[in-house]
């Protein structure tokens, strides 16, 4: 699980073009949206692409993502469950 989280962080940095951040800058439980990493609805679309391209998981309705994309923890848990 922790390996998955580290991979996810690297993928988030790559997919969302956050090149000034490093894996160490993102805490497992830090909120990705709003105050945390400052992500918004456009970035949620990037998460949908990330899940589909890297994990083969399809999210049809962008509003479904809200809970899944809360943090690296929640993302990893969702991937474990659905892969």
């Amino acid at each position: 699980m922790s390996e998955l989280k580290e991979t996810l962080k690297a993928q988030i940095i790559e997919q969302l073009n956050l090149e000034d951040l490093t894996v160490a800058d993102i805490a497992d439980d830090a909120p990705l949206f709003g105050e945390g990493l400052g992500l918004d609805s456009i970035d949620a679309l990037e998460f949908i692409v990330l899940l589909e391209q890297n994990y083969g998981i399809k999210i049809a309705d962008p509003s479904e993502g809200k809970e899944i994309f809360q943090s690296v923890d929640s993302l990893a848990a969702y991937i474990e469950k659905n892969q």
């Binding site: 918004d40 609805s41 456009i42 679309l45």
Partner: protein, 373 residues
């Protein structure tokens, strides 16, 4: 509201006249108006236009045949200007050319996407001054006209010719597709069942001058304009319509008019849920709910940097003919605030028309036109 401006900003009377209009609905202003009057739309499904080869509805100009749609379209609008305005005015020392475009010749990348624009103008009539290029997302066209007025009011030029132009490209279509912002049928601005934007391509040209056209061609008065940022989000419309509300207020003040005297609004109306809702909130805050309003995006698609220019030309045509055009795709009110969206063409003498635009980067712009006596 309706406060008179403390300081008059209008230095000289300004007149707007037609320079040219090339859209999916025709190659001249007259042809476009005739097709709009008949309720025709230039938005049709384009086979394989999407990133996954989807058939998105787009406002595509079928007469463009060369590899480079942008340069061909620019050549055509320049030819129209030469015919309608004449080389003498276009190349005069007291004339400035302003180009409004978001992506210009995007296929030129990694070379300069604006180089061909300067080159074509030079070859066509060699303007006395380097053309001024405005690239301010979807409000570029309205800002080009406002900037033209600044230059004439500042006594830098007597005539400014504004050209609004953007061509279809994979870049733009894939971009809006990636935002889930494209509509799978022709866009339906302000309608309850709207699902997004239809992208289009067009070129339009307007002549702004401190003199009426010498050949007696139709013209309207420009009274004033402004812009205002939402200071809220770079791609999402404000939930309160703050920037648009402030811009219209400023424009009315600069134009020394009472907002309640506006009798027609050519709105931005892209057909996305949030944009159209935002506009309805701004108009409601200004008590403009009962003023006839349309979005012209259903005729041409959203033509980005050309939109402000071609929609002002269309507004001039409506003033000239005393006919307000229906807002294509609108059937049932789909905004929380009441609007008087035109579902049919309506004969009406317009004295004061408001044009608005909003876009990425949080920009909002507006201007007011008056029927010329």
């Amino acid at each position: 509201m309706g406060r008179k401006a403390k300081l008059a900003n209008i230095v000289s009377e300004l007149y707007l006249s037609y320079g040219g209009l090339i859209t999916p609905l025709g190659d001249t202003a007259t042809e476009n108006f005739e097709n709009m009057r008949l309720g025709k739309s230039g938005v049709h499904k384009v086979s394989g236009s999407g990133f996954n080869k989807e058939d998105w509805p787009l406002g595509k100009i079928n007469s463009l045949t060369s590899e480079n749609r942008y340069t061909e379209l620019l050549e055509k609008i320049c030819e129209a200007l030469i015919e309608n305005v004449g080389i003498e005015i276009l190349s005069a020392d007291r004339t400035l050319i302003i180009i409004s475009s978001t992506k210009a010749d995007i296929t030129a990348l990694p070379s300069d996407t604006f180089a061909s624009t300067r080159e074509i103008l030079k070859n066509k009539w060699n303007p006395a001054h380097a053309p001024l290029i405005i690239s301010n997302a979807c409000i570029s066209g309205v800002m080009a006209i406002n900037t033209a007025a600044d230059y004439i009011n500042g006594d830098k030029y007597d005539t400014v010719v504004t050209i609004g132009i953007d061509a279809l490209s994979d870049f733009i279509v894939y971009g809006f597709q990636s935002l889930f912002a494209l509509s799978d049928q022709s866009s339906k601005p302000f309608d309850k069942n709207r699902t997004g934007i239809s992208i289009g391509e067009a070129a339009g040209a307007i002549v702004i001058s401190n003199k009426k056209p010498e050949n007696g061609a139709f013209c309207v008065n420009y009274l004033g304009g402004s812009s205002s940022n939402d200071a809220n989000h770079i791609s999402g419309p404000s939930r309160t319509g703050e920037g648009l509300f402030r811009s219209i207020n400023k424009t009315a003040e600069r134009s020394s008019i009472n907002i309640q005297d506006i009798d027609f609004i050519s709105a931005h109306g892209t057909g996305t849920m949030y944009n159209d809702e935002m506009e309805s909130i701004a108009f409601d805050r200004l008590s403009l709910n009962s003023v006839p309003v349309n979005s012209l995006k259903g005729y041409f698609g959203h033509t980005l940097g050309a939109a402000g220019i071609i929609e002002v030309i269309s507004t001039m045509l409506m003033i000239e003919h005393g006919l307000l055009l229906k807002s294509p795709g609108f059937e049932e009110q789909g905004t929380t605030k009441k609007m008087n969206v035109l579902s049919e063409n309506v004969e009406k003498e317009v004295q004061l028309a408001l044009k608005t635009a909003s876009g990425f980067g949080g920009g909002n712009a507006s201007l007011i036109l008056k029927k010329s006596l």
